[in-house]
């Protein structure tokens, strides 16, 4: 073939290809145009902005707060209520010398104000490339946040709380909107200004070029009267800073200190309360006025502010105590809800008191039986976890929320270790039913209370620990003398690393110290410390050993520490007043629980704030 013929052939071939290509292209375009846009992917947001990369905070605002830390008394710009203000004024930074506070993590709103490096990255489904989560790593305290983008719901009220909480996100306009719940109690500000475990946070994260802004809106019904709006600026780093870790292990900072010491200042006696105003020559009201300090009108208010009116805010106001603003973690839906704690240990919620079930080859090992109102459903729930009958039930006290389900749960069970043993020759029907274990005083109190015999424990111990090896788990039952009553125990599943605290610890109300049945303030503090002696946190003061409260959400040592601190602080206040000759009425009028009332207080129901204060007073009076 000659050259021009070849060229012509190629040209014809090329033209043919162009025609074919064009036809194919336009066919696709036409098809696409007719069908576009395709249906939206259901509930799977795609990023409106890319947050991935390395970011460093720009600390051009609140440098003192975010650096060395603000002065005590500087709570300006925070809509704190009385409880928040008094909690902060009672705070002693020396509290951080306590072993269980040394490695406290930063709670998410505070974490985002930390001065270390940050890294954002996406987690996508490898098959669909849908965005599953956005992760944030913060160098300071090694805070690791996960923002779920896959539409999953938030966990129930009885789920554990963490420093970073549980976050879900979605893109709205040019912002990533993040909703965070299940936060731990921690700081709004490092000078002791508290944020409760009932706080939630909405964030708006926007990016303008290499400038990222995270606006946090914190709502806290316990300590704030209105949402707290702040924002944190970050600038993008082109490469890895190489600094991401934040090692912490606790140690003994003060040798020989008694275990029931928690540094705190008495209400109305914070010696540094005026330091901030004096240092900066501004009215005392500046730092403690609450929500009004946020708005422009406050500049005029400051011109007429007097020290006398501000000083009144340094102590509890006279009058009735407010009540808890916390979410009731009980489901109240007539159902039993199962929350897995570890592969074979479960928390059952719904029957008026938390129940724990351990399963395995040996059959269910149950701790506490609830109120008994939903005992049939409890049994049904346990049968779903194990096809074997309940072998053991431990009661952590004789109180009805621990033992109410005993008769039915016992009857549904079987203790094969007794069937055919010499016990069966002594006791008719031995082993036909679960064996109930408890400290001897539980049985004594139940007999005294004339509770039905089938609810009594038949396997009791005195003051030693009781041990069981069951389902491959070493289980230890420790008597905690004179805590809530004189028959309390805690149960430690060693392999699973779960401690069942019974009514010694709860997340819903002040400790129910039952003085007439042998409870005491000091015994309660000692029992809480005994729990803390057995916990090991996983990382930065959280996780690791899990604690099941008598009522409320599944916890770890941090919640027990805060509860212990509260108990010690209130004890200290009442003890000091008794020492100065105060009567019970004077103690009540002093509102010694003022900084905890919006979290745990009650003016009605089975355990009011007044009943608690009375119990503390009487217990300390008896011990005097």
């Amino acid at each position: 073939m000659r050259k021009n013929e070849t060229t012509k052939a190629i040209s014809m071939k090329t033209n043919l290809h162009i025609v074919l290509f064009s036809a194919a292209l336009f066919t696709q375009i036409a098809l696409f145009a007719q069908t576009a846009p395709p249906p939206a992917a259901p509930a799977r947001p795609s990023p409106a902005i890319d947050l991935s990369g390395y970011w460093s905070p720009a600390v051009n605002e609140d440098g003192l707060e975010r650096g060395a830390g603000s002065e005590i008394g500087d709570y300006a710009g925070f809509a704190i209520n009385e409880a928040g203000r008094l909690w902060a004024l009672s705070y002693d930074p020396s509290r951080l010398t306590l072993k269980h506070h040394q490695c406290d993590g930063y709670v998410a709103p505070y974490q985002m104000r930390a001065v270390g490096n940050f890294r954002f990255w996406e987690d996508r489904d490898p098959h669909t490339m849908q965005l599953v989560a956005i992760h944030i790593w913060a160098q300071t305290t090694e805070g690791f946040r996960t923002i779920w983008m896959d539409g999953r719901p938030h966990p129930p009220a009885w789920a554990p709380h963490t420093y970073q909480g549980f976050s879900t996100g979605r893109f709205v306009g040019n912002a990533l909107v993040v909703n965070t719940t299940h936060l731990k109690q921690a700081w709004l500000r490092r000078n002791g200004l508290p944020e409760s475990d009932q706080a939630s946070m909405v964030e708006f994260i926007v990016r303008h070029g290499d400038h990222l802004v995270d606006t946090t809106v914190v709502t806290d019904p316990v300590f704030l009267t209105e949402a707290e709006v702040r924002s944190d600026d970050f600038f993008r780093q082109p490469s890895d800073h190489g600094a991401w870790l934040y090692a912490c292990d606790d140690g003994e900072e003060i040798i020989g200190r008694a275990p029931d010491v928690v540094p705190n200042y008495p209400l109305g006696a914070q010696p540094f309360a005026k330091e901030y105003s004096k240092k900066y020559k501004i009215p005392l009201l500046s730092g403690i006025a609450g929500a009004q300090s946020i708005y422009p009108e406050f500049t005029a208010r400051l011109k007429t502010a007097t020290d006398a009116e501000a000083e009144a805010l340094l102590r509890p106001a006279p009058g009735p105590s407010p009540v808890s603003q916390a979410v009731d973690p009980e489901p109240h839906d007539g159902e039993i809800h199962v929350w897995p704690i570890s592969p074979h240990v479960y928390m059952l919620v719904g029957d008026g008191g938390n129940i724990v079930v351990e399963t395995g080859d040996d059959g269910p090992f149950v701790v506490d039986s609830g109120s008994g109102q939903l005992a049939d459903k409890v049994i049904e729930a346990i049968r779903k976890l194990s096809d074997q009958p309940i072998q053991f039930i431990v009661n952590t006290s004789f109180l009805p929320d621990r033992t109410g389900g005993n008769p039915k749960l016992r009857a549904s069970g079987l203790d094969p270790s007794l069937v055919g043993s010499f016990f069966s020759m002594q006791f008719r029907g031995a082993g036909l039913g679960a064996t109930i274990i408890a400290q001897q005083n539980v049985e004594t109190r139940m007999v005294e209370e004339k509770l039905p015999a089938p609810s009594w424990p038949m396997d009791t111990f005195l003051n030693d620990r009781r041990r069981k090896y069951h389902n491959g788990n070493a289980i230890e039952i420790y008597h905690e003398a004179n805590a809530i009553t004189d028959g309390d125990s805690i149960v430690h599943f060693r392999q699973a690393d779960v401690i069942v605290a019974g009514d010694i610890f709860n997340t819903t109300h002040f400790p129910f110290i039952d003085i007439k049945d042998g409870g005491s303030v000091q015994g309660e503090i000692n029992a809480l410390n005994e729990i803390l002696n057995r916990t090991v946190y996983q990382h930065e003061g959280q996780g690791g050993t899990m604690i099941v409260p008598g009522h409320g959400y599944l916890a770890d040592e941090h919640e027990v520490v805060e509860y212990r601190d509260m108990m010690v602080i209130i004890r200290d206040r009442v003890r000091a007043m008794i020492k100065n000759g105060a009567t019970l009425d004077q103690v009540k009028a002093a509102r010694v629980t003022a900084d905890y009332d919006t979290r745990y207080g009650a003016n009605s129901g089975p355990w009011t704030t007044e009943m608690f204060v009375t119990a503390v007073y009487n217990s300390l009076k008896q011990a005097k």
Partner: protein, 280 residues
Amino acid sequence: MAGIINPAIFQKHPEEYSSKMFIRSRPTFLLLWNVAAAAIASAQFGPPPSGPPPLPRAAAPVDLTGYWVSLVTEDWRSRMTAPPKGDAESVPLNPEGRKAALAWDPAKDQSSGQQCRGYGAGGIVRRPGRIHITWQDDNTLKAEFDAGTQTRTFYFGSPQGKGADWQGISVASWDVPGTIMTRGSFGLGNPGGPERGGALKVVTTKMKAGYLRRNGIPYSENAVVTEYYDRFDIPNGDSLLLVTTEVNDPMYLTAPFWTSTHFKKQNDAAGWNPTACSTP
């Protein structure tokens, strides 16, 4: 389809594509590309608009108008009280900046008619007060501040005036993320993806020298103030205005000075209280 074609590379090295595409003629391919690209764009975004693009007011991705009250939750002391001379906590002043801050003389400012130095574009959003934002016309937003009775004008088109006053010249634009290819075709992007949303971007220059803070922390007449105005709706029904500010001033600052300032939407003019500029 033959794959994704990068027109920039193609125009430089068409041979890299020619063997795959069986195209030897650059003009033919370019023609084809342009036709295809137009068709793709049409498929993605609908038919090309007939007539001029919408005016900035109509194109607004976010409604910023109304009365907004400042929420002073950060830098409280420096904003709500008069911090002492030289207190420049968190501000990246250079030695010249520190020198100027220490030379601050409020009495002199007052006597020389310079009492509005703390209310210029570089610092006005940090003053506690209220903002009233309205559309002056389809191309111009107006932000009135009751603190110092100041007015800023944000021009989407050609700015008017020459500056050299406290508020300078502000050029506005809509900052909309992902304008290109946010909606998909050819497997790119996200069909049915997120609404775009957006922020107001304002770049201000040609101001008189002023103060970042009322206690004389300075910025110079050469400073450039870049701001982004974002609006967020929070679950309790309130709306927030976030003003992110970056002040660049090589004369007095070692690094950009970044702040983010919050306002809450009001239903009406309650609390609107124009006050004259003053020195601490």
